[in-house]
């Protein structure tokens, strides 16, 4: 007699072998310049159900360069666990050869050199090709979108998400959950959701006034696929009104609500669900914790924190799948569901190498249709960069250093603050910076670049508050962004300390003097969650700065000292 756990473990081993061999193989093939679409798509069909997961596309319709993080610390129980392993350590863990395509796709180092060799990744027309190929093998595969889809580009902003809705509809998803979508404002969200040809899910989207499930979003939806009764439960981003401006969607309340998740799982099991899938925008560490708290979820398709993992993580009898961001990856998960339970799985994180995977013509045409009215504005060259511009990482990226410099000079401030968001593709050294590139790292519905005064004491409170949103040892108290980016001020952070004790040695870089708690400092920033914030949109500030510089120079930022990692 073999228990379900044994089955999963055997299957996990098989999957690990499979994943590793898949990655290893195309490493070698690529070295011989023979990476092909067939190899990327190769998958031995398994079991009777297929799930396709895309998440955190952030409106990137076209292929992009996207450098994965170098600094991505875990705290508490997650210290040293995936996804908090980067670079060479990550490659050793998964048996990825140096300089291989997987090295380029999944880790940060030698990014510029490898990017020149392997090209851009993503593009929803390439994603369509992958989805079509999976559907050719498994016509009733479920396509699930983890959200952060209708946000993040020039065209998405100017069409209030319509470009993404049109392109995603062409991919024919079966269900979706949400985060940045709500920053379009609740009226617009309801308008789009009302016309979606697929399910809009969120068991944790509540009516703010009555504190009961919101009527506009179903908690779950049943699908009958491969003879299996599947329940997909949605989990929207839990901290929407805290991390983003709640005044834009005052009718809704969120939260993790894991006790309600358990109720939903029990409810769908009671209705005969043989497979329970959670389509989540919790973030990876929150999903890992929730998998241990809520019983009865077979698969969590995890989004929000932008992690890409070549293998699922097993928590009890739940597998947690992380599928990256910006259209770089598609996850395929095949499941063997028999006798009302998940017996095993096979998984592949499919990297979307845009030069290798042929674009789907039909979806490519839809994409061009969305971009055509804006193509002149998108393609205007604003300047050049002599270094790599990237954002991802816990503390600073060169894109944000550039944005902070723009704020300091254009808004005549002593200190600049830039939000620790995880979206925003990279620009290679020597590459022209277009208006589209600037919008890809700044586009949002609350872009006002404010200029205000803050006391040194208040600045410290802000820094401590944000730091606790990342480094609180309990994942349920983390919001899933990175640390606020700071220009004009250096500091020291001990990530092991409690809130109030992490940040020290705050220093005004222009004078080298310690920040005086009682003095007022002129601070410029953007993306304030407060209603009524005033200032020019950040993309105009950055554009002016780059235009006047001509070529922007990136210098290494050494102003943050991190201890306790």
């Amino acid at each position: 007699m073999i228990s379900r756990r044994d089955f999963l473990q055997v299957s996990m081993a098989a999957s690990a072998l499979y994943g590793a061999s898949g990655f290893g193989q195309w490493s070698r093939l690529a070295a011989q310049q023979a990476l092909t679409q067939d190899q990327l798509l190769q998958f031995d069909d398994f079991g009777n159900v297929s799930l396709i997961h895309v998440t955190d596309i952030h409106a990137q319709l076209k292929p992009v360069y996207f450098r994965e993080p170098e600094i991505n610390f875990g705290v508490g129980e997650n210290k040293g666990d995936v996804p908090h392993i980067t670079g060479a350590d990550f490659r050793r863990l998964y048996g990825i050869e140096d300089n291989s395509p997987s090295h380029y796709a999944l880790t940060y180092d030698d990014f510029t050199a490898l990017a020149k060799g392997y090209g851009r990744m993503g593009g929803l027309d390439r994603v369509a090709t992958v989805i079509n190929s999976i559907r050719a093998a498994r016509p009733d595969a479920l396509l699930l979108d983890g959200g952060d889809t209708w946000h993040g580009s020039y065209t998405c902003h100017h069409t209030a998400g319509q470009d993404m809705v049109n392109v995603m509809n062409a991919l024919k998803p079966d269900a979706m959950t949400f985060h940045w979508e709500f920053t379009l404002g609740q009226e617009r969200v309801r308008e789009i959701v009302g016309g979606l040809p697929f399910a809009a899910l969120g068991q944790n989207i509540f009516d703010a006034e009555w504190d009961e499930p919101a009527e506009d979003f179903a908690p779950y939806k049943f699908f009958e696929r491969g003879g299996v009764k599947i329940a997909v439960i949605g989990q929207a981003f839990p901290y929407m009104p805290i991390a983003n401006p709640g005044w834009m969607f005052p009718d809704y309340s969120f939260g993790i609500r894991d006790e309600h998740m358990q109720t939903m799982v029990d409810e769908v099991r009671g209705q005969g669900a043989e497979l329970v899938v959670c389509l989540s925008h919790n973030g990876f560490d929150v999903d890992k914790k929730m998998a241990g708290v809520v019983t009865g979820i077979d698969v969590i398709l995890s989004g929000h924190t932008h992690d890409a993992l070549p293998e699922p993580v097993l928590v009890g009898e739940t597998i947690v799948v992380a599928s990256g961001s910006n259209g770089k990856f598609v996850s395929r998960v095949d499941l063997d569901v028999r006798d009302g339970r998940m017996m095993g799985f096979r998984h592949k994180l499919i990297p979307i190498f845009s030069d290798v995977i042929a674009p789907d013509r039909q979806v490519a045409a839809v994409i061009e249709e969305q971009r055509a009215p804006y193509i002149e504005q998108l393609s205007e060259v604003i300047g050049q960069s002599d270094g790599l511009l990237f954002r991802r990482g816990n503390f600073n990226g060169t894109w944000d250093d550039l944005i902070c410099n723009a704020l300091l000079s254009e808004r005549e401030a002593e200190i600049a603050l830039s939000p620790g968001v995880r979206w925003g593709p990279s620009v290679l050294p020597g590459q022209a910076i277009t208006r589209e590139d600037i919008w890809n790292v700044t586009s949002m519905s609350y872009p006002e670049a404010y200029r205000t005064e803050m006391t040194g004491e208040f600045l410290h409170v802000v820094m401590e508050d944000v730091a606790d949103n990342i480094f609180n040892p309990d994942p349920y108290y983390q919001q899933g962004g990175d640390m606020v980016r700071v220009g004009g001020m250096g500091y020291r952070i001990d990530i092991t300390k409690p809130q109030g004790e992490r940040i020290s040695e705050m220093t005004l870089l222009s004078t080298g003097e310690p920040i005086d708690p009682s003095r007022n400092y002129v601070v410029a920033g953007w993306a304030s969650v407060n209603e009524g914030t005033e200032g020019p949109p950040i993309w105009d500030v950055v554009e002016r700065h780059i235009r006047s510089a001509g070529t922007v120079t990136v210098t290494p930022n050494t102003s943050v000292e991190v201890v306790g990692a």
Binding site: H179, D207, A208, W210, D211, E212, F237, P238, Y239, M240, P241, I242, A243, N244, G246, S253, F254, G255, I256, E259, H304, T305, H306, P419, G420, V421, R422, W423, V461, V462, D465, V466, D468, N469, N472, D474, Y476, Y477, Q479, G480, G481, D482, V484, Q499, A527, V529
Partner: protein, 138 residues
């Protein structure tokens, strides 16, 4: 029948009594607990406290307590200048021993609930609710 909370509230069917304690503000949390329990041991089972991990608005934080068979449940906001929030008393005719309300939290703190159960024993549940200035989620 499947009544939503909205319908239940609209029907005015809540059969419980809520008493806001007129406690002096200098009473410490320990004193309040000791007074409620008479110093008895408190177990961790038998009482459920549901509160958000991070408050969306510290001025109105929804919380829920339930303890099957309880005769009363006391709720304390330990970090407020006046910690007592409410004590819910359940009569013998109460359909269930659960209550929900909204509380104001001055800062990040532990919310504590203590229930006096049907057999006279006590149960305690607590959760940290973070009150944050908000910011930037990825």
């Amino acid at each position: 029948m499947n009544l939503t909370r909205r319908e239940t509230l609209a029907a005015g069917g809540a059969a419980l009594l809520a008493t806001v304690l007129p406690m002096p503000s200098f009473a410490s949390v320990e004193d309040l607990v000791a007074e409620f329990t008479g110093g008895a041991e408190m177990k961790s089972e038998g009482l459920e406290l549901i509160a958000p991990e991070i408050a969306e608005n510290g001025n109105t934080v929804p919380i829920e307590v339930s303890a099957p068979g309880a005769t009363s449940i006391m709720v304390l906001a330990t970090g407020n200048p006046t910690p007592p929030v409410a004590t819910f008393n359940f009569g013998p005719l109460a359909a269930d021993q659960a209550a929900s309300t909204r509380i104001r939290l001055a800062k990040t703190q532990e919310v504590v609930a203590i229930a006096k159960l049907g057999d006279g024993s006590f149960a305690r549940a607590a959760q940290t609710v973070k009150v944050t200035i908000g910011g930037c989620g990825g």
